[in-house]
Subunit: 421 residues, 2 copies
Amino acid sequence: MKSPPRRGGRPRVVIAGAGFGGLTCARALKHAPVDVLLIDRNNFHLFTPLLYQVASALLDPGEIARPVRQLIRPLRNADFLQASISGVDFEGRRLLTDHGAVEYDYLVLATGAQSDYFGNSSIAEHSIGLKQLDEGLAVRNRILAQFEAAEWTDDPVRRRMLLTFAIVGGGPTGVEMAGALSELIRFVLRKDYRGLDTNEVRVVLIEAAPHVLSQFVPFLREAAHRSLERKKVEVMLSSKVESVTDSTLRLADGQEISTGLVIWTAGVKASALGATTGVPLTRQARMTIDPTLQVPGHPVVFVIGDLAGAQDGSAYLPMLIPVAMQAGKHVAACITDMVAGGGAHAFEYKDPGIMATIGRNSAVAQIRGLQFSGFIGWVIWLTVHLINVVSFRSRIVVLVNWAFEYLFLDRPIRLIVRAKD
Amino acid sequence: MKSPPRRGGRPRVVIAGAGFGGLTCARALKHAPVDVLLIDRNNFHLFTPLLYQVASALLDPGEIARPVRQLIRPLRNADFLQASISGVDFEGRRLLTDHGAVEYDYLVLATGAQSDYFGNSSIAEHSIGLKQLDEGLAVRNRILAQFEAAEWTDDPVRRRMLLTFAIVGGGPTGVEMAGALSELIRFVLRKDYRGLDTNEVRVVLIEAAPHVLSQFVPFLREAAHRSLERKKVEVMLSSKVESVTDSTLRLADGQEISTGLVIWTAGVKASALGATTGVPLTRQARMTIDPTLQVPGHPVVFVIGDLAGAQDGSAYLPMLIPVAMQAGKHVAACITDMVAGGGAHAFEYKDPGIMATIGRNSAVAQIRGLQFSGFIGWVIWLTVHLINVVSFRSRIVVLVNWAFEYLFLDRPIRLIVRAKD
């Protein structure tokens, strides 16, 4: 591989991962006297909060993913390399990738998180996560293919199995997916599959804790729970999944659910890169770091986002986009200071609040002590997400799609398609 | 498989293929006293004239493909089955599919066309066609992946290979793809890959005949040829492809082109279904039919679209959308008459004209003796295609994408992505 360009011997900052943390860090280094190399295994940045809308046939990939090269175009000091990252050589100051080793002066590890199946291979094999764009497309393909198969089978047991969709995990992703899937079925697929009885369709949300959305205050949890039930989602609380086959989900209490699709949102852990570094790991396989976000003993290496085991007092910061973005800005400021001869300072997180939507007209939001639910919560959710979709064009296209869905109860993207190899 | 629903013993019309011919036929039977079953291997209808825009990263699949079930929703007498069609049992009046045999009273064969590699397995194996949606996505993935690889290789020979794109076939598809690809590179990728010298990139259009767009009058052919050259497409005429490997295209005259991507638009033949029926085939593997579009000896079986060897005087009708749509309407009228005790009548094609676009501001159109080129041709092309995109929502989204591309020279969908299996 050829070496990344050097612009007059300036220090090189290598950023591993073009998610919210890595991208924010690269942008915040725009005017710093450094050369930035952003590396990701995909050529796009993914707006993960709307991935469930790809999975539920409302948006196309192009609406929630943007080419990294387009996003860094305004940064004259940044380059992009599409490569898989396999490890770090701290002594040699080299990041190891499938395109060879890349030298750094400063390194920012921001490779994010992955689904955690807690070592249960039957779940890993027979369920689909909702972390990657290809998983969103796979869920969409599977939902539609199961409806097609159900329409033409004359075996009622098999039809029940094909029409039962299990979502494991009652966090925001699971709740949003369950709400969107239920609406897809009740508003859209019901009209597409006139030979099917919609009452046979089940959307089951399975959560191990005694309530959904445990990050939220009890009042909002209960509002979300009621909203899910109004949307005909079967919410099963205090239920742990023991195993999954291609047609059955078995709970720890022995109960079995016959289902053709299990969507796994119940576990998340940091990307596998952390374990390769030799740095001690904390909860969820996150890397232990100093309050400055530096790796202990390696002051030119920073960790941000889901991979970083950053603490706020005694609690670990949640795996959320605002944490990653604020950390990205923090690290950019530290590196700028260090290049100028200064040092790193401690990271402080400012919580902007959390929110989750449960389909049409319903969301819960918890912002600086204020609580919103129902329609008002939904308007707040819509506004925040539309503003944050990463490009102006996408904002228009997403708005058109949302408006059509809202007015005509339509899901435009009900296509079973994959790229030819 | 369960039987398709019967609505009071009405005759069943089975339509094999949900392309322009099959879909038009189903729609034209909306008020006929028949039950319609539309069958396609995909769950979507594809607006093929814009497939090259998916391949050149301007549109997402959702903009040019619509779920068949959504399209037939207003038809209360129509059902859909997603299945691959393998043959016809004329005696038993059954269409054979991978979901079992489907009985018919009337059968309309409309399975369209496929790429023809003229028995050359090296071309079949090492090139990508532009007939199916997955091929459009594969071309897009390959173009972008080759630019990524080219940016980081330090081998100039390999870089030349990765940056040479060969399009074989100078018909409308090849010409439109070449123009769109050249603009993608010169307007968009040039800014994304600042480390690459755009002068190293080659878009080569290879045509066996002595001119491109041989269907058009000489004046328009020449206008298209000049337009391609202005867009830096290398047009090689009177050149036949002999073989292709994963890095080389070899012409019949011995010349070799080092290229990492060969897009094949040079040959098309009717779908393989024709050969399984025992009905004699004409040119391009199309089925021999009566002037009424009936299969000789099987008056309840009609053939339309690219699969039909329909003749206008002594010439075969071209494989074009208007032919398929007019034939679909014709057959619907014949079946309606036959159900009422009448008979089929001869098909007559009314030529609405042909057109092709060569990127921004340039197209050629030939409509009822009138000829248009350049900007006026392009405005006509835009209008016709925008009106015909199959849904209102798509029309808005396509317009937004086209407007952004026109104003900002941007291609929004530059994503390398495929569904997880």
